[in-house]
Amino acid sequence: MSGTLESLADDVSSMGSDSEINGLALRKTDKYGFLGGSQYSGSLESSIPVDVARQRELKWLEMFSNWDKWLSRRFQKVKLRCRKGIPSSLRAKAWQYLSNSKELLEQNPGKFEELERAPGDPKWLDVIEKDLHRQFPFHEMFAARGGHGQQDLYRILKAYTIYRPDEGYCQAQAPVAAVLLMHMPAEQAFWCLVQICDKYLPGYYSAGLEAIQLDGEIFFALLRRASPLAHRHLRRQRIDPVLYMTEWFMCIFARTLPWASVLRVWDMFFCEGVKIIFRVALVLLRHTLGSVEKLRSCQGMYETMEQLRNLPQQCMQEDFLVHEVTNLPVTEALIERENTAQLKKWRETRGELQYRPSRRLHGSRAIHEERRRQQPPLGPSSSLLSLPGLKSRSSRAAGGTFSPPPPARRASAGPAPGPVVTAEGLHPSLPSPTGNSTPLGSSKEARRQEKERQKQEKERAKERQKQEKEWERQEKERQKWEKEQEKEQQKQEKERQKQEKKGQGRKLSLRRKADAPPAPHDGGDRSSAAEARQDAYF
């Protein structure tokens, strides 16, 4: 019940009793701990009624007590609850359950301290130190130089460079780590960061940043479906995706959205994975550049970029954004398909990838499934912990020594051969899980579960095929419509030029144009029709 109390206290703006801010001491923080800056939430926030909040907390507590069951059998419900927003009092715990960093922490007791004690590479430490005071300077936790927030940030980021020496430190990890620290102690935040970097967004922070560039291309391809107008505009302006999406994707919008929205996006992200990032970005673009009306104010590249740096408030507002994101049918399968296509293109134009990250896992279910494949059900899962040598091996396996699995596997296509090498690292005595995924032992229960799983996967594959067909059909329709629209626009453009010529020299030309019957009406209708069309399309 303390959770409930906490959440109530949470909802009242506090003075930040233990805040360490010099000079700003009298300033009130908002309910998230911000003292100012662009992400400061005024009193505009809508808050959930206490009884609803309390109900949700109870539901989440129930889920925690039967977590594995909920994930494997009632995932849809978990997903729905994440989409509704995780109660703030339980958010930290939920993120750790969803990302499974909780288990990682339990499997590696003392590991974090060990990493902390290691000297670390000065090359990374220098850069990290330079960044410490540059993370959310308006948040009470990070406002003070050398304060607790900054110290913890240093501890986590440094630990990561020792944990993954091949990866080192990327500047975009700092804001991500900082968001985690706002919710949980350093050690927990560290393992959560590890899961984000290893499972959710592998390769995002690695040297060369190829994964982010590839996702930029995937995003652009998806944009073509989600908002043909925005897509065409950006293509004509020759604005590469990396020019605007780098910070969004790498920081999971932590520096972009109002704070309430950041938390809602992270709630969904931990549950559903990178798909959420794509969707949020698509929604933002649709509402920034998605209509003729909106494009009018960004004629040039610079104006467009400016617009993308100053996104309309309305589309970032938490309820609106979550609603839009939920309704955008960009599926894991679609992302993976685009991934394959873009990877092929990359290879053709730029050659082989320099860095092959491990397979990206789409959210908690995929992480959970991978874990189950690695730990065949032997009874209570914790019994595995007592296997001799597991601890050291598992940390080694996670330490980046495994060779990369084939890239660009379509994550959910068919019963995946699975986390090939990691699994081998964990259970060297097992028959290779490649090819078939027969679980350890021949217990009936295990076989039954395995069958069940295969059945489910088959069903899902079917479902996916159906969906893809639907996509293709829609894609064709869309192309047709796009062509029509282009024609229409050309016609309109001609019309406009004609009008302009006529109106040249006349002061009133602009207003007259707006009054002239065909063009403007047409334009207005067209843009709204376009939007309606897009909505219907999705």
């Binding site: 300077p137 500047q171 590469d240 970029m305």
Partner: protein, 213 residues
Amino acid sequence: MAETYDFLFKFLVIGSAGTGKSCLLHQFIENKFKQDSNHTIGVEFGSRVVNVGGKTVKLQIWDTAGQERFRSVTRSYYRGAAGALLVYDITSRETYNSLAAWLTDARTLASPNIVVILCGNKKDLDPEREVTFLEASRFAQENELMFLETSALTGENVEEAFLKCARTILNKIDSGELDPERMGSGIQYGDASLRQLRQPRSAQAVTPQPCGC
């Protein structure tokens, strides 16, 4: 939208992480030091219209992330830059040592003719200096760069750095060394009036309202 100018120059601010690139830009645009700043991930930008030698020039300045691993991403906005501020931190030899790599990037990715000014930033931290003025000016000379020591904190030489770079570009346009009409020059004409001054070159350009010149 309504602002008028004769030219538009695209500028870059490049250099290693933590040298104060974003603060230089902020000081130039807002005339004050940015106390609580985030580090740049990807790209930031700003613009300001300045008066240089009787011409109004709009500077469109792209500020880049400094960490090495972002280079692959930042490359995509080097394209078509006319000028660059190449920034190092006078209190950090490491940032000075990587200047050559940054310069190569600028000349190969933006344009070989890009006008670069070297900025030794954090001039206000003189007691902690690791790179002498003399050493850096020698480097500048060898690489045909202009050179200034700046302080984004006090504002010293910040405006000068941008203006000096812009002035050099204007001179090069006047002397014919730079052709604004070449694709990717990073220079654009601001409005029709200037185009008309250079009418002979752009005879085919449609100028709907001849104003009798």
